[in-house]
């Protein structure tokens, strides 16, 4: 295959393409790549990105509970903090398992002042996720100002919710990811919330259909006690996510009557099927079409 050689890509380009596939579909590209070393390199670079981007949930050993793999809890490439249990999970990204867990060091955890806010929100969020997500997992991290010891300083918490449904035997996969940034502004005694929601669904039995949806929203509230903050934040999150799901549902319920119908009707405007039985009638049908003012 001499003519193929000039189109041959560099190793680096190949690896980049392989990584793109890894990040978009957890499928096997080994056979296509046909290069063990390149495959391993691409895998080891893409899996950590995939795991964090999809915020996958792994079980910690010793009935320690689950840990979410997110960039907010990332201490280093293989170590992820679970703030609820104050454990650090050591993960194998490619195998997608947690191999070990160790107690977090003091300097890896927020101050007790911050922990009051974080812990209260975690409890409220757990209640909400238990109510709304059949298989949802959530976590609350401090991403800014974790060492703040008391009032007078700003800090930031991030609440994440991740729900996945992987059932390849039923030919469908789905994922819901929410990331809520909450800025606690000490100066103006306000809380600023920014939410990013991402929903995906994939059904591939004798076909391939994919839903891809993204939404961003903002809200704010007043700075209160840790418990009151937690209740307010959880109710804001609940409100926005419920509204969003409702507009998502409305949108695909409307599709058949709007966009889909604009593309192709179920039946012609004439309400009858096409007169294929009479090819002489083609031109007559065209005249009627023109008469009705449809078509070009």
């Amino acid at each position: 295959m001499a003519d193929v050689e000039e189109a041959e890509l560099s190793e680096k380009q190949k690896k980049e393409i392989a990584k793109w596939f890894f990040l978009n579909a957890p499928a096997d590209v080994k056979a296509i790549l046909n290069d063990e070393q390149l495959y391993n390199e691409a895998a080891s670079e893409s899996f950590p990105l995939y795991n964090k981007s999809y915020m996958i949930c792994l079980e910690m050993p010793g009935r320690m509970g689950d840990v979410l793999i997110t960039s907010f809890g990332e201490l280093n490439e293989n170590e992820f903090l679970d703030p609820r249990t104050t454990q650090v999970a050591i993960v194998d990204h490619i195998k997608q398992v947690c191999t070990k867990a160790r107690p977090a060091l003091d300097e890896e955890l927020p101050s007790s002042y911050i922990e009051e806010f974080r812990c209260a929100l975690d409890a409220e969020l757990l209640k909400y996720v238990g109510e709304a997500y059949p298989k949802g997992v959530c976590s609350v991290y401090c991403t800014n100002g974790k060492d703040v010891e008391g009032p007078g300083f700003d800090f930031e918490l991030v609440a994440v919710i991740s729900a996945a449904r992987l059932s390849p035997q039923n030919f469908c996969n789905g994922s819901w990811r929410s990331v809520w940034n909450i800025e606690f502004k000490d100066d103006d005694q306000m809380l600023e919330l920014r939410g990013k929601l991402q929903v995906g669904a994939h059904y591939f039995e004798e076909g391939n259909v994919q839903l891809d949806a993204k939404h961003e929203c903002r809200d704010s509230t007043v700075f209160q006690s840790p418990d009151d903050c937690a209740i307010t934040i959880a109710s804001i999150i609940r409100h926005h996510e419920t509204e969003y799901l409702a507009s998502l549902e409305a949108s695909y319920s409307n599709l058949p009557d709007t966009t889909f119908k604009d593309l192709r009707r179920k039946l012609p405007v004439t309400r009858t099927q096409f007169p294929w039985h009479n090819t002489l009638q083609f031109s007559l049908t065209r005249d009627i079409t023109k008469e009705l003012g449809i078509g070009k």
Partner: protein
């Protein structure tokens, strides 16, 4: 275990990737494994390209079946564009098959007006030893959405009469595209003709609004059907093929709307409940009480 076949792996990968990016994924796969290029391009359907016929000014669709090198044959002029500098000027169908091609193009063109209210269609036929074969292509895009019909125009009056739900959410911007590719062959047998049809529909719908953010729902489906029908003349071939395609498009449109979009909706519903779970559980408990009450 034997290594999976690279071609099968590539097809499997494409099935898992978002159908909205098929062309991009295909391109990347071909770069990664140049030896698979030809097989992949001929077995994976992509959205169709449109070109304008230089001679007649009408639009036509490009595919592998009307291509010869870097030239494509227009179904309206029967000429290759750009012209082929060969002695024969590129392969065209025999006179008899070209006559059917003209007739089928004519029929599908009116069919397209009736069902699609716009868009582009093309039919290409070619000779077989014991019959003929062909491809019917249809494409419609709504990008950006078309303006509403002029009030008072006939089209507007028809729209009012025929549609109950006209653009229910005016603040939502929606886009969409439909491509259908019907490849068929007709083989002459004793008293009947045997028809085999393979149809692919590629559909892409998108919606955007303040409350919704960005949503895209897309997919592709392929279905096959075989049928024996009497064909006393070439006109009956045209009728038979037209009818088969009309039935197939109806079936596939329904499948996409009812089964595939329904599945995508179910997957999201399984991730996050629209009503709270405790409410749902309460309902279930009430239901159980009712049943046990009745069975007493």
């Amino acid at each position: 275990m034997a290594d999976p076949d690279p071609f099968d792996s590539a097809l499997d990968l494409l099935r898992r990737l978002n159908p909205a990016h098929t062309s991009k994924n295909l391109d990347a796969l071909c770069q990664l494994a140049p030896s698979l290029t030809e097989d992949l391009l001929s077995s994976v359907d992509q959205p169709l390209e449109v070109r304008k016929c230089k001679k007649t000014g009408r639009e036509y669709l490009l595919c592998d079946y009307n291509r010869d090198g870097d030239s494509w044959r227009s179904p309206w002029s029967n000429e290759f564009e750009p012209p082929i500098e060969d002695d024969d000027g590129g392969t065209v169908p025999s006179d008899r098959v070209r006559k059917m091609e003209i007739k089928l193009n004519d029929g599908i063109d009116i069919y397209r007006d009736l069902y699609y209210d716009g868009g582009v269609s093309s039919v290409y036929l070619w000779d077989l030893d014991d019959g003929f074969a062909g491809v019917v292509l249809l494409k419609k895009s709504n990008d950006p959405p078309p303006p509403p019909p002029r009030p008072g125009s006939i089209a507007h009056r028809i729209a009012l009469l025929t549609s109950s739900a006209t653009a229910s959410a005016p603040q939502t911007a929606s886009t969409g595209s439909w491509d259908s590719i019907h490849v068929f062959e007709s083989v002459d047998r004793a008293r009947m003709s045997h028809y085999k049809l393979t149809s692919t529909v590629i559909l892409q719908l998108g919606a955007k609004s303040e409350a919704l953010g960005n949503m895209s729902l897309g997919g592709n489906l392929t279905r096959q059907v075989e049928q024996d029908m009497p064909a006393e003349s070439d006109d009956s071939h045209v009728s038979n093929i037209g009818k088969m395609i009309e039935d197939m498009e109806l079936k596939m449109r329904n499948l996409l709307q009812e089964v595939y979009f329904g599945k995508a909706k179910d997957v999201v519903g399984d991730l996050r409940s629209i009503s709270s779970l405790s409410e749902a559980n309460r309902d279930k408990a009430t239901h159980r009480e009712m049943i046990s009450g009745m069975s007493k």
